[in-house]
């Protein structure tokens, strides 16, 4: 589903590569944490998967596309199959919750009828149906991030990339977001999330890819942020199983 083969990326003017011959394979339906300190290369990896950046050497394959060979005109089509969430939410302040989510469909020319069913569905999924007419400024940070997640999911992507989605949120709100992301993953969407929130990683017990100075120094299934025995780790909070994620409908 996502594969990096000896991917090397050096930014202009940088002494050392941001990613140095990194290989990684992510299967359909996986939930993967990319962990590491700031500047370790987590975000670069996400940007490569999103084709925001291109590798200098090696290959990046996402959803069957070799991103090195993807022509500029195909990039837009490719990105429609991905959803992205950021630390700073990136909502449009002058549009309501509903309009923010609908915007993602309008700009890719989805028909009105589709928008009118998909947007309420996804707002229901993230639990914001009641606040569809609010402006982002009238929402809490957690709610704003849920709008951003709704926008990322509304076109039913196969992959959700999240760059520090809880970085601006308090622990309780972060948990809510993680519960939501887990639910989305359980419904079949592959989730790749960069974070340095130790508590979250330890609690979720998912695959952890640790990056340091551009190298993968650890890749472990169902692991914690640091290598400590996982037996004693608490299990993630219950997620309501009765809400089906629209992406599989």
């Amino acid at each position: 589903m996502i594969r990096l083969e000896n991917a090397t990326k050096t930014y202009k003017g940088a002494d050392a590569p941001a990613l140095d011959s990194v290989s990684l394979d992510i299967q359909r339906g996986e939930f993967v944490f990319l962990v590491g300190t700031s500047g370790s290369g987590k975000s670069t990896m996400l940007r490569l998967m999103l084709r925001e950046e291109r590798v200098d050497q090696g290959e990046v394959l996402v959803l069957g596309e070799n991103l090195n060979q993807l022509s500029a005109s195909k990039v837009a089509q490719f990105r429609r199959k991905l959803g992205v969430v950021f630390q700073d939410f990136r909502l449009l302040p002058n549009k309501t919750v509903y309009q923010n989510v609908a915007f993602a469909l309008q700009v890719i020319g989805r028909p009105k009828a589709f928008i009118e069913t998909a947007v309420p569905d996804v707002l229901e999924l993230v639990g914001l149906s009641q606040k569809a007419d609010r402006l982002p400024s009238a929402l809490s940070g957690g709610e704003q991030q849920r709008v951003a997640i709704a926008r990322a999911l509304v076109n039913r992507p196969e992959v959700l990339l999240a760059d520090e989605p809880t970085g601006n949120l308090d622990p309780a709100t972060s948990n809510e977001i993680m519960t939501l992301l887990d639910r989305i993953n359980l419904s079949g969407t592959t989730v790749v999330m960069a974070t340095h929130d130790r508590g979250i990683v330890d609690r979720m017990q998912k695959r952890v890819v640790e990056i340091k100075a551009g190298h993968i120094i650890r890749d472990a299934k169902t692991a914690s942020y640091r290598e400590i025995p996982s037996d004693s780790m608490p299990i993630i909070p219950d997620s309501p199983a009765d809400i089906d994620f629209g992406g599989q409908a």
Binding site: A72, S73, F78, A104, N155
Partner: protein, 304 residues
């Protein structure tokens, strides 16, 4: 992307950028008005050329007693010389080219002179015998005055051959210079309009960079991201072109047709129909510049 959505995006851009949009409208209005003036002056020159060139005559001035020595060493033209010239004009060689001709004696020339220079003091000092007798020739094709020149220059009794078109050319050169001047101003103004559009669109893109980044992330095509911005520049330039057209038509109607044409009844001027005819050109120039400059500008912005 759906049309309604694109238009609403464009409208949002215009609202957030209204003073710049107004300046684009004004600059394209002024520059395209100069374009219109250039085109209409050219049209005027063309129209006057067809009108006057057809009426332009070639004059064969005969020697008088006052003629300069080098042209007329033998003094005034004799009757025999006049007869020879007339014979040649009516002869087989020139008949196919000559439409009509007539002889003007010194009295007739004096009468015409007095009429033409009624306001000038010159009329008081000139007497009939100082003026040349002349054959006035209307050619079937006024551009073939060379023929007359070749046939008669150097002939005994001929002082000078003058094509009236050479006087007209001076007037047309003057009008052409005016039209060139307008074209110069138009190009400078069009250049500033183009740069202004490019700057405005870049500002507009900058103020909506968040929208643009989201559009790119969710997979909007480059074309659909650019379109609202290009339309924004296009709309402003087209409004400018329409303003320029209205002003041009108004000037033509009230000043040219309503005033000049009445004052100078013998000259034909361009009409409101003519100034309406150039509307497509104004719209075309405005639209092309707007599309090119805003596309280039937004393209570079998206690259950066």
């Amino acid at each position: 992307m759906k049309l309604g959505f694109i238009l609403s995006e464009m409208w949002a851009g215009i609202r957030s950028n209204i003073s710049m949009i107004v300046s684009i409208i004004l600059v394209s209005f002024v520059s395209l008005t100069f374009v219109a003036v250039t085109l209409l002056l050219q049209l005027q020159v063309g129209e006057m050329k067809t009108y006057w060139y057809d009426r332009a005559q070639v004059a064969i001035y005969l020697c008088s007693d006052y003629s300069p020595e080098e042209a007329c060493p033998a003094g005034g033209a004799t009757d025999a010389q006049k007869a020879a010239i007339e014979e040649q004009l009516a002869g087989e060689t020139l008949t196919p080219y000559v439409d009509t001709y007539y002889f003007e004696n010194q009295d007739a020339a004096y009468e015409k002179f007095v009429e033409q220079f009624a306001d000038s003091q010159a009329a008081q000092y000139i007497t009939a015998d100082q003026l040349n007798e002349a054959f006035w020739v209307n050619l079937k094709d006024p551009t073939q005055s060379e023929l007359i020149l070749e046939s008669f220059s150097g002939l005994d009794g001929v002082e000078e051959i003058k094509d009236q078109r050479s006087y007209l050319d001076e007037i047309f050169n003057f009008l052409n210079a005016g039209s060139l001047l307008a074209a110069g101003v138009a190009s400078v103004m069009l250049l500033s309009a183009t740069l202004l559009i490019a700057t405005t669109i870049r500002l507009s893109a900058h103020s909506r960079r968040r929208e643009i980044s989201i559009m790119r992330l969710v997979g909007a095509s480059r074309f659909s991201i650019q379109l609202p911005f290009v339309l924004e520049g296009l709309l402003a330039a087209v409004l400018g072109a329409l303003l320029a057209t209205s002003v041009t038509v108004a000037i033509t109607h009230y000043f040219v047709t309503g005033y000049l044409a009445k004052q100078l009844a013998f000259t034909s001027f361009f009409t409101v129909a003519d100034s309406l005819m150039i509307t497509p050109y104004l719209l075309g120039i405005g639209a092309t510049l707007a599309i090119i400059s805003s596309s280039v500008s937004i393209h570079r912005y998206l690259k950066a």
